[in-house]
């Protein structure tokens, strides 16, 4: 999967399957495992500096063989060391910190901006809708990863001197901008169907103001659809960060490890001899994306987010 397109296929999954999938009250086994994994990885990322793990910059160079081979598992280094003697567990956890920070930041940005724009477009229709939809179309006319790449390039170019934005913030902003149109379109489509409902007319007949109708009546109904897509988008951004790193755009490994730049670096240097180094961050990405997709599916099934057919 990769950037925005991946959002689309999942939209309908499970949504219409009513044969056996009655609304599940609880998460189920897979849902629980997903939630546990996300909690685990999220918490360790959040608490990384205080966890009893070595700093990712710490190089146990004496443990690395003269031929550049690092032992896979040594006491105290559960996931082994890389060629530079860095502890892989520490790398992965600190990598999660960077990758997840970017992903959540970007999706938050997309949710807020896209949600607001989509809600406005779907609610006011007419000119407002045409303007906002065209804006979305413009951003959607460039494949997401390429848009992200160009945005990162422009943004890092413009903040090169000022240093106002760190590379993580730039990534967050760039990927956030990329995530905005798809989330906005979901919000718009969902708002369009919900504002057709008669309770909206009833609220208006009661004398409710637009603001109240938008945020009290419609938003709570639109949110579940957006939430499930947002969860998918977090996964998509995690993957996008990886993809950008592989293209040489993004956070620098020597500054801070991220899942993306770990994959990119080890894929270049260690794929043939120490594939485990490549697979460790890949597995982390995979499990995280899998869990996010699974939870997204569960939310969607529960709220029957059929109206998000775009």
């Amino acid at each position: 999967m990769s950037v925005s397109g991946a959002i689309a296929p999942n939209i309908q999954l499970g949504a219409k399957i009513k044969v056996e999938k009655e609304k599940r009250k609880r998460l189920g086994i897979t849902g629980t495992i997903s939630a546990v994994w996300l909690a685990l990885i999220g918490l360790s990322a959040l608490l990384a500096p205080w966890l009893p793990i070595p700093s990712p910059k710490q190089a146990y160079i004496d443990l690395v063989q003269p031929d550049g081979n690092a032992p896979f598992s040594t006491s105290g280094h559960v996931l082994g060391l890389d060629g530079g003697g860095h502890d892989m567990l520490a790398q992965t956890i600190h990598g999660a910190r960077v990758s997840l920070q970017i992903a959540f930041g970007a999706v938050m940005f997309g949710m807020v901006v896209g949600g607001f724009l989509g809600l406005s477009a779907g609610f006011f229709k007419g000119k407002v809708d045409r303007f906002i939809s065209t804006l979305f179309d413009i951003f959607l006319a460039v494949p997401a990863l390429i848009l992200a790449m160009s945005l990162v390039a422009f943004l890092s170019g413009s903040s090169a001197q000022s240093g106002f934005l760190s590379i993580e913030r730039i990534m967050m902003l760039a990927l956030g901008i990329v995530a905005t149109p798809p989330l906005g379109r979901i919000a718009r489509a969902s708002t369009l169907t919900w504002s057709e409902r008669e309770f909206v007319m009833a609220a208006r007949a009661q004398g409710a103001k637009n603001f109240k109708i938008m945020f009290i009546e419609i938003l709570p109904n639109v949110l579940p659809a957006m939430m499930s897509i947002a969860l998918l988008s977090v996964g998509v951004v995690v993957v996008a960060e990886g993809g950008l790193s592989l293209l040489g755009v993004g956070v620098n490994f020597t500054d801070k490890p991220s899942w993306g730049n770990m994959i990119a670096l080890y894929a270049q240097t260690d794929l043939q001899l120490h594939p485990w180094l490549v697979f460790t961050p890949i597995i982390a990405v995979f499990l995280t994306v899998l869990s996010l997709n699974n939870l997204g599916d569960i939310i969607r099934a529960r709220f029957d987010a059929k109206e998000t057919t775009l």
Partner: protein
Amino acid sequence: MAGTGTAHLREPGETLLRVENLVVEFPVGRSGLKVNAVTNISLDVREGETLGLVGESGCGKSTTGKAIMQLPAPTSGKVLFGEHDLAALKGEELRVMRPRLQMIFQDPISSLNPRRKVEDIIAEGLNIWNIGTEAERDAKVNELMEAVGLDPELQRGKRPHQFSGGQCQRISIARAVATDPKLIICDEPVSALDVSVQAQILNLLEDMKARYGLTLIFIAHDLAVVKNVSDRVVVMYLGKMCEVGGPDDLYANPRHPYTAALLSAIPVADPSVKPSERMTLGGEIPSPVSPPSGCRFRTRCPRAQERCASEEPQMQQIAEDHFVACHFPLNPGETLTNSTEAFTA
């Protein structure tokens, strides 16, 4: 039918609501064509009266109801409510009028917000207008729930999906009554319900009307239902009025061919009435994008003459409190003969 005119309107002083020459048009995509949903409808309601609006789908009855509510505002025409012309009001001026007119919708599911509790739904108007203290509002919600036959203790905190269709309509009625409106527009409030529940809701509406001193506009496609609740009935066809009158006279002696055809098409729960012997109207309702000239019913009317195509019939009085817009109205007691000529006309 398909006629215009205001002959049937009563003195302005007598009525609570007076609608004059209401027109509602919608554009068809960007083609420049327009749907003539409602063309020159005039009607009025006295205080405490129930006005029935009846017709088949596409006759503009619901659109008329919504246009009175200014949801959305009509293309042209006057909606006089008290001394205000609602159609001329904008923004805040219109908004303050809102609590005095309310609406009950057809679809019990769609008309309640699934994510809100029943108590919040009913209290919405009270909260918006800040009526009373919190305790008073609470008490009002309890009172309303009891009035519509719901148990406030058990059901206040539930959400709409936990209720049946009939119960949802009860909630809608409670919500509509909450702000003490003068007028309630009921837009097909029972057509989504089963017959046994339909009777419950119709009885409830009568009770509520008496209890809260309401005036109703009752929109439905079911003639028998409309007759049951109304003091005056307007029959509509393709965006125009056909016939206006008191229900007993209008149903006993329909003067407009369309009303007669409509009445004869209703299946009667009596095996001795043979359906084959009754008059069946041919064809279907023409497109409201290009309605027929003159009388809009002429393409299906067994009595249509050349004059019907060229000249639009005006609303004229034909008996006491009985008005018809037709060049060749039926005589009292006269029945329509089955004619297939109109089918192809």
